[in-house]
């Protein structure tokens, strides 16, 4: 379900992933997540992991170092911006020093359940990559993986499998490597994925009205991403979000304790405006 760019990146990282897979399968159940501001109890959390390089030697490349720093600044300040919006429970960003997942294999079911129980709605990790030839470094790029924890948990039963979403940099292939990330651009992925994580979490807790608010927000934010030629995984996520919106209506109407506006005043087929 990945787009070509993600697939390409995954191929680059495949060897690394394989090496780590056996290790992480074992570590996954017992690994302690060391997050600086990790909190528990009624607080939504976004885990921001350390970024890493795909292979040895890349860490000495100054341009990749800059890319890593700038990317980390962007992710951290964007996440802090998200915490300002009013949410049903507060939203916090936890910086996970030393945590470097290596792929979907790092997120086995028990691990995901544990994160979901701690109200972690999103985990971000990323790898920086480049070509190395005769001491020359070229084709620098980065791939950030957004792990939508409540969606990933749902994914064990869901054929769309949209729980892992990748954003690659540079976004446009003609951008020079020194300008890998344009920080002045609007980046809506983080806001969108966080809204989905919160919405699915709320639905599980039968908070239908609030769940619809976040799922519709995600639906609205996803629309232009998909319309402008978004990749397959983004389209799968949009389908998942639209189906979740319809499921909210179905579940609300089937719940004897619910008597709100979703029963008669919201379109059950296309609930989001």
């Amino acid at each position: 379900m990945l787009g070509r760019r993600e697939a390409s990146w995954m191929a680059v990282g495949a060897t690394v992933a394989v090496i780590f897979s056996l290790l992480s399968v074992q570590l996954g159940e017992t690994q302690t997540i060391d997050c600086v501001e990790s909190l528990s109890g009624g607080i939504y959390q976004i885990y921001l992991d350390e970024l890493d390089y795909t292979k040895e030697g890349l860490q000495n490349d100054p341009q990749l170092q800059n890319l890593m720093q700038r990317l980390y600044f962007k992710l951290r300040t964007n996440a802090k911006g998200l915490t300002l919006s009013s949410t049903p429970v507060p939203l916090a960003v936890a910086l996970c020093k030393g945590r470097k997942p290596k792929g979907e294999v790092s997120f086995n079911k028990r691990m995901v359940e544990s994160l979901d129980d701690s109200d972690v709605i999103l985990e971000l990790w990323g790898l920086l990559d480049a070509k190395q030839l005769d001491g020359q470094v070229s084709n620098r790029n980065a791939s950030i993986c957004f792990v939508l924890i409540p969606v990933l948990l749902d994914e064990y039963l869901n054929p769309l499998q949209p729980g892992l979403q990748f954003v690659t940099y540079p976004k446009a292939p003609d951008i020079a490597s020194g300008e890998l990330i344009n920080l002045l651009e609007q980046s809506l992925e983080l806001e969108t994925f966080a809204a989905i994580g919160i919405g699915v979490n709320l639905l599980k807790n039968k908070k239908y009205d609030e769940a619809m608010k976040y799922i519709c927000k995600a639906r609205i934010l996803l629309q232009p991403m998909v319309a402008s030629g978004g990749n397959e995984s983004r389209k799968a996520l949009k389908d998942y979000v639209e189906e979740t919106a319809r499921q909210i209506i179905v579940k609300a109407r089937g719940d004897a304790n619910y008597a709100g506006a979703l029963i008669e005043l919201v379109d059950p087929v296309n609930p989001c405006p």
Partner: protein
């Protein structure tokens, strides 16, 4: 410029128990219309209790791994922002500004005691620790941010939160009806805290910041850049408090309290080269507009009167329009939408509302910028009701408004304001001629009954 020179007394606020240092800060303070303080320790924040609106500025925090090279630039940038903010606020009268200091503060403390959230909680009295709190009903604007240095560039990420203490910031519009008493339609503001778009400043501009800083950080004998003067001390151990006595051509004459620093003239409208700082950092225009908006609302609430209300409103709107002009497409959707909402609110609020159509356009633009916001869509809907009723439904059609309200409700199905607006709206349009209302009576009745059922269930909860 007469308004800028006006200085009048405001009541002192001494309601809160304060320590010895606070006595120094508060006892003699705010006999003037504007005041500033620099170098207040961030973990013991302070506001001017007599001010109708306070702007509090937390120094920009360096997020680069190597913090040292940027520390001075960050401090200078923060002071420049404060000078610009304070000067831009002068026109409103009855306002104060404070710059907090993060010197001698550990990185851990920056994230805890001196975080924007904790500072705001202290200033609002939610947790202890403020030297002086924002009194109920009065406004506060908190500005903070992060810097990141890479080679010859600095990236600036600013955030803002603005509110009136203990006041639910809502827009309430009264619509006259032929048959009944006037109906009121209400809507809350979207989140009044958000991030601006990040800005990039290059090394040349940084040098200009330094030059501008050196111009601003001097208290001179006369409003002349060549006049001799004394440097402003930024040491947090010696806080500097002053009141603004007069403003003239980009200069303000300050008078220090209790010998906390020099008195004289400060150059307060900094520029980066030929470009005024507000054009390079448009968020400064937003801050100016937000302060004006809060000042206007505090005046309307009768908490702190303002002598020149219409002029205050137009100053705030001009600042918000400048923000829109200079931030353009690069701005965050939230910031752009909020600028439109504040400006639209200024259009429509008060004893002498300006053009309802202009307000309606601004609310519609805001709802388009943040289409996922039920609050923005609801404000757009109620301003349409207001405009529609004024124009005998020639400007906007009831069916269109009904769609707007239903869309708002889908995004916030438990929102009592939206449901109540719907109930009143269907009651309002039901007696209209069929050609005007463009909705079948059965459809109106069905929707009205459904809305009333939901409101009834919410009442029982």
């Amino acid at each position: 410029m007469a308004i800028l020179k006006s200085v009048y007394a405001l009541p002192l606020g001494l309601a809160h128990p304060i320590g010895p240092i606070s006595c120094l800060l508060v006892l003699c303070l705010f006999s003037g219309a504007q005041a500033g303080a620099i170098g207040i320790e961030c973990h013991k924040p302070f506001v001017w209790e007599g001010a109708a609106v306070n702007a509090v500025i937390l120094p920009y925090v360096n997020m680069s791994e190597d913090r040292e090279p940027l520390t001075r630039a960050a401090e200078e940038l923060t002071l420049l922002v404060q000078m610009n903010v304070l000067f831009s606020m002068l026109k409103y009268s009855g306002v104060g500004a404070t710059v907090l200091s993060v010197r001698h503060v550990s990185p851990k403390m920056l994230e805890t005691e001196c975080s924007a959230e904790t500072v705001m909680d202290k200033l609002l009295g939610k947790v202890a620790g403020a030297r002086a709190q924002v009194p109920p009903g009065k406004g506060i604007v908190l500005i903070w941010g992060y810097l990141y240095e890479e080679g010859s560039d600095i990236f600036i990420q600013s955030y803002i939160r603005f509110l009136r203490r203990d006041v639910d910031d809502r827009l309430v519009l009264k619509v006259d009806t032929p048959a009944h008493a006037p109906l009121t339609f209400a809507g809350r503001m979207p989140d009044q805290a958000f991030a601006f778009a990040p800005r990039r400043v290059n090394v040349d501009e940084l040098k200009q910041i330094g030059r501008a800083f050196r111009k601003s950080a001097m208290v001179r004998r006369a409003p002349d850049i060549n006049s001799e003067g004394d440097e402003i001390n930024l040491n947090p151990d010696i806080p500097f408090q002053y009141r603004v006595m007069e403003a003239r051509n980009g200069w303000m004459r300050i008078e220090a309290y209790e010998h906390t620093g020099p008195s004289g003239w400060v150059h307060a409208q900094s520029s980066l080269g030929d470009v005024p700082m507000g054009r390079r950092l448009p968020e400064l225009f937003f801050v100016e507009g937000a302060v004006g908006y809060l000042r206007f609302r505090v005046h309307l609430d009768g908490i702190a009167d303002h002598p020149y209300v219409d002029r205050m409103r137009s100053y705030a709107q001009r600042a918000l329009a400048r923000f829109a002009r200079y931030s353009a497409a690069a701005e965050s959707a939230e910031a752009g939408a909020m600028a439109n909402i504040l400006s639209g609110s200024l259009d429509i609020l008060g004893e002498k509302p300006l053009e309802a159509a202009a307000a309606n356009d601004k609310f519609a633009a805001a709802a388009l910028s943040i289409p996922y916001s039920a609050a923005a869509r609801n404000l757009s809907a109620i301003s349409s009701i207001y405009l529609g009723s004024q124009s005998n439904w020639a400007e906007v059609k009831p069916a269109e408004i009904s769609r707007k309200l239903l869309d708002s409700l889908a995004l916030d199905a438990g929102n009592k304001d939206i449901l109540t607006n719907m109930e009143k709206f269907y009651q309002l349009i039901k007696p209209l001629p069929p050609a005007t209302r463009q909705m079948q009576p059965t459809e109106i009745d069905r929707k009205l009954a459904a809305v009333q059922r939901v409101l009834g269930s919410l009442e029982k909860q």
